[in-house]
Symmetry: none
Subunit: 366 residues, 2 copies
């Protein structure tokens, strides 16, 4: 076991450390980091080339850093970096690790063996995954993230209300639907090729950091790559520490993060407070007479209708409750944003009830 150097130096905040993540983490003081986000190598075991049905070749992940000789070798690597990560976390700190079926079971078991306490596994559902071209398996349409506290006793950070607000007022679930990283967000090298084979979308890190850190927290990423964690941390007013072995990735990440603007304090408060916009109860519309008890509302798809009641709830033929609850029930869906689901008739036309909410919000700004 390597000796761990303890330094009295201040944390290297908002810097990218060059080197092996285990060695670099071991240089940092014990209990100094609030959150770790880690996107370790997945240990893919690809055999030959893969072509699409149109005969184009898939640009596979064939980088040396993703190669391990065996599961045992991968497990050793995993346990070593997790142990180093565990040491530098504050007692109330937490970790996120992302992976696929190739590695996530080994990572999860090692996490538990290292003493981490799993809080949730979160499924990143890709809205636009790569299909299965040969029709031999299911489309690999998700990746798994594990969220774990440093220990069972850790009082981890969880901004429940912020996430609920981000989710139209209902509890955030463990499955998150987000697109993969493409377009302008996807960093390119000087040849116009992708700068990194597995760049994660900023939206994913945004949700992770809003959920489990506060402004001013220190977020460390031991597999920094092109710096998505650093970019989002900076924008959200968190401090970051990146560790990356490859100079090419460090270079791209540095340039990327330099161009990010830190959100000002107001914006940060808004993004983490209950709602970006002031909450308007549906009942307010009834109180104000914009809608009246007994009025009929119609669903977006025209298949359902409901009647407004005096207390701001709805009643349909076999159910009653909030605009969201009734919509969800009628659609057989887990949740429903009633504001965009329900319409009322005005001059024979369908008008979304959200229009009335917008009128109220506009008034509130005066």
């Amino acid at each position: 076991m390597a000796t761990i150097k303890q330094t009295a130096a201040p944390l290297p905040l908002n810097k990218i450390l060059a080197g092996d993540c285990i060695a670099e983490m071991n240089k940092l003081p014990e209990g100094s980091v609030d959150l770790i986000f880690a996107d370790p190598p997945y240990n893919l075991q690809l055999k030959g080339d893969l072509h699409r049905p149109d005969n184009s070749k898939v640009d596979a992940v064939d980088d040396a850093w993703d190669q391990f000789s065996s599961f045992a070798a991968y497990d050793r690597f995993t346990r070593d970096w997790l142990k180093a990560a565990h040491r530098i976390l504050k007692p109330n700190g937490a970790i996120w690790v992302i992976g696929s079926y190739h590695n996530i079971f080994r990572v999860g078991a090692s996490l538990q063996d290292t003493g981490f306490w799993v809080l949730n596994d979160v499924v990143w559902r890709k809205s636009n995954p790569m299909p299965n071209f040969r029709g031999k398996r299911l489309t690999n349409a998700h990746e798994t993230m594990i969220w774990a506290a440093k220990s069972e006793a850790g009082k981890y950070t969880f901004n429940y209300e912020a996430l609920k607000a981000m989710n139209d007022g209902v509890q955030m679930r463990s499955d998150w639907l987000l697109p993969i990283c493409t377009g302008h967000e996807r960093l390119k090298d000087e040849n116009g090729d992708k700068a990194h084979p597995t760049q994660k979308p900023e939206s994913l890190l945004h949700r992770v950091l809003v959920a489990t850190t506060n402004p001013g927290d220190v977020v460390l990423d031991p597999f920094f790559g092109t710096g998505t964690t650093g970019a989002v941390a900076k924008r959200l007013g968190r401090d970051f520490i990146g560790i990356e072995r490859e100079e090419a990735y460090r270079k791209v990440a540095t340039k990327r993060i330099d161009s990010i603007r830190r959100l000002d304090k107001d914006a940060l408060e808004v993004s983490t407070s209950k709602r970006a916009e002031p909450r308007v109860p549906f009942g307010t519309l009834v109180e104000r007479g914009m809608l009246n008890a007994g009025d009929k509302l119609y669903s977006l798809n025209g298949r359902h209708s409901a009647k407004v009641r005096a207390d701001g709830t709805l009643v349909a033929h076999d159910t009653k409750g909030s605009i969201h609850q009734v919509g969800a029930h009628l659609e057989g869906a887990p949740s429903c944003n009633g504001w965009t689901y329900w319409y009322f008739k005005r001059d024979g036309k369908n008008v979304p009830i959200d229009l009335l909410r917008q009128q109220i919000r506009a008034e509130m700004k005066h």
Copy 2:
């Protein structure tokens, strides 16, 4: 290691075996089962329902300080039953295991260590999960299933077209949205309480069995519970073997399965891929005079043409060979499906040569 009894007795099909799953699996002949579906216990507190293969009881460990040895005991249990499961699977057999973040990482790692080859991890997204009442974590809205072949070389069953058909014509993804088991489907005991704490919905097993078995296959469930696997297997014309220790569960399952009706043969037929269709050599079309030597074929994109030769090969201006080879050469592609690439003229219109193959296949069915 316990000695494995080999019996010449026929498989105990469509029966529920009473006893420990490891002991019972060890009584079955090697390589005799097509699919295993397993919903193992995951109470890491080991409150008395974990047993070693020799039926000795694993010491209950619930002290927080001994959490690691508890994981170790669970790993032993997992490896033992997975090893027994591996032995009884046919070479082309496969396994499904379902779990949550409490146990699925350990199960997944043990699967890989046992020699199983992971094909997909599948997320069961619950449309109606239990909310997180205390607002301290994300709503635990999914469970994870791992689908794995007996070995990397195994030619596992996957009814790609059937699943695609079930999914409105686009290939099935790795995230499945299904409601939890409630209502009439949820079995009750004589007191009206739920008969089993974790009864799985039949819809989940339906999709699993349609996807990865064929009618007549043998499906084994080592943690049978109230027999969802058996009920769906029977309805879908598969044979099942259940193993269950608890008499109360066996009783409920027996009654349940007795009341299930097997679907008739027509209802069991699913869409199949072209791969399953009989092979028709291109030369057959020439032999039969559907095309003649000297006829001209035109490419899909209209850029190329070739002449049919008497032996069922094609010749273009600088190449000759099979319909596939010539197509690939002309397109500069690594491969080409000649059946969909080449067209011939009939009454001035372009007709794909695949139409002729379909005629021959239709005749072959008579």
